[in-house]
């Protein structure tokens, strides 16, 4: 049974700013369904005594001292910008909020 609907894929695509065509939505709904179903196998295997994990390594508290390190030259940074002005990145008008 399908757990990922076409509408959900469309919504996720919107959130991720990915423009998908109708046929792509249909195909991805099916593919994502297979992926989700495969991953769900883990839930069936893992018993209650297996804690959820976000990292494969048993590491905690990896810190850096609060010491200033070199920064990038501003010319180099802006060279990578599509457009720049006054030492800053120039971007299209932000948010058509209404």
């Amino acid at each position: 049974m399908s757990t990922i609907s076409r509408e959900e894929v469309a919504r996720l695509a919107g959130l991720a700013r990915i423009d998908l065509t109708g046929p792509e939505l249909d195909r991805l709904a099916g593919e994502l369904d297979v992926i989700v179903e495969s991953v769900a196998t883990v839930s069936r295997v893992a018993t209650a005594d297996v804690p959820a994990t976000s990292h494969p390594l048993p590491l905690t508290n990896v810190f850096r001292d609060d010491v200033v390190e070199p920064t990038l030259p501003v010319e180099e940074i802006l060279a990578a910008a599509p457009a720049a002005q006054d030492g800053r990145f120039l971007v299209p008008q932000i948010l058509e909020e209404d």
């Binding site: 919504r11 919107g14 959130l15 700013r17 976000s54 990292h55 390594l57 590491l59 905690t60 508290n61 990896v62 810190f63 850096r64 001292d65 609060d66 010491v67 200033v68 390190e69 070199p70 920064t71 990038l72 501003v74 940074i77 802006l78 002005q85 006054d86 030492g87 800053r88 990145f89 120039l90 971007v91 299209p92 008008q93 932000i94 948010l95 909020e97 209404d98």
Partner: protein
Amino acid sequence: MSTTTAALVDYDEAVSRFDPVIGIEVHVELGTLTKMFDGAPTEFGAEPNTQVTPVSLGLPGALPALNRTAVESAIRIGLALNCEIAELCRFARKNYFYPDVPKNFQTSQYDEPIAHDGWIDVELEDGTVVRVEIERAHMEEDAGKNTHVGGSTGRIHGAEYSLVDYNRAGIPLVEIVTRPITGVGDRAPEVARAYVQTLRDIFRALGVSEARMERGNVRADVNVSLRPSPDAPLGTRTETKNVNSFRSVERAVRYEISRQAAVLESGGAVVQETRHWHEDTGVTTSGRVKSDAEDYRYFPEPDLVPVAASRTWVEELRATLPEMPVARRRRLQGEWGYSDPEMRDVVNAGAIELIEASVAAGASPAAARKWWMGELARTANAEGLALEELRVTPADVAELQRLVDSGRLNDKLARQALAGVLAGEGSPEEVARARGLEVVSDDGALLTAVDAALAAQPDVVEKIRSGNLGPVGAIIGAVMKATRGQADAGRVRELVLERVGAS
């Protein structure tokens, strides 16, 4: 956006018909030397994009490295707010697209904040204490700064394009979220303001942030909802973003209460939405409606390992907590013998530390208050500076007062000496010497001036002789003028009376 003025219900009427509930989210920028996840410096006011590394820019392959000091500051804030400190917590990615977030996600914390379930007592101006419950305090990073160019207002709406500076991107933030604050009725705006003020004082006392409102070091989002009565379920709330001064926090809450009351009274429903605060007009306007766009698809940050705050570490940090501001204020007020209004003025002027240091340097509490809250407050105000930005130290104030107490300077000369100190001419002692400021109490010099003044005003002499001592002041004034303020007024008075034979 709606630019039309919303209907409002008179505030007193609004709070008589509805029970306001507020909630406040405060972001504080930590005063670490470097950013949360990289070694870029965090100095305020640097040229755009000069404090940026591959991590700040979210360049491919850049990996975050967590700033230990920022984590310690977050834990100390949590402890100061009486929170539990999580034994294990993680960072999470909050995904959204906005040019000031170059990675397309903000590194934040989601369901595992570093601190949770705390409280803080907030004291209102009349001494009423309100306990505010803290839901959580979590670590995250600041975004870059957008400047909107073109359009009619220069703000977001109508802008033609935006310029982005990433110096601020990645500066450590701690976000503190209250539980709904209920039961404060018509005092909700006041409580909101006092709460933010209390947090600011705590941040400063902890030394975790300069906590300067005008620089955006502390920013508040205020949630407001109304319900028909205190036992009714919570109403629909609005969230007014980025309210960045104490006064605005109070005004924004007050405005929302009046606006929502009008909506409800006209039979409408409050829309759950983000609203914008307009400092100039004192109103809020509708922003984004909470919707799908609010789906941030949080997931655990794979590039950062969890933080496990051992109980030993937490206790070590707890031992570094200073006396909390409210307790400290009460203690100092008692020690200094200030009245409630005097103390309130000192607190509001941000002069506590300066007065405390002046007293430590030898000034009496009364003298320290007189200088900092008088001449110096006026100067700071006139020059648009904070008291501590003036070129005068607590030691200078103590020295100045010693010169007055020893009789070397009178009040007027002391003010001149202070002006010299403020102008960078040295310590009060040095200024007094360099400018030749000293009370003249040498009778010879004074008598010459007194005689000249009396000779110039024979009618006054007659009045004084006939027992009318009122005009003595005029003679003293003339002598002061002749000696450029350096005369000892008490001695001049004695000499005048002697000379006219009225003593």
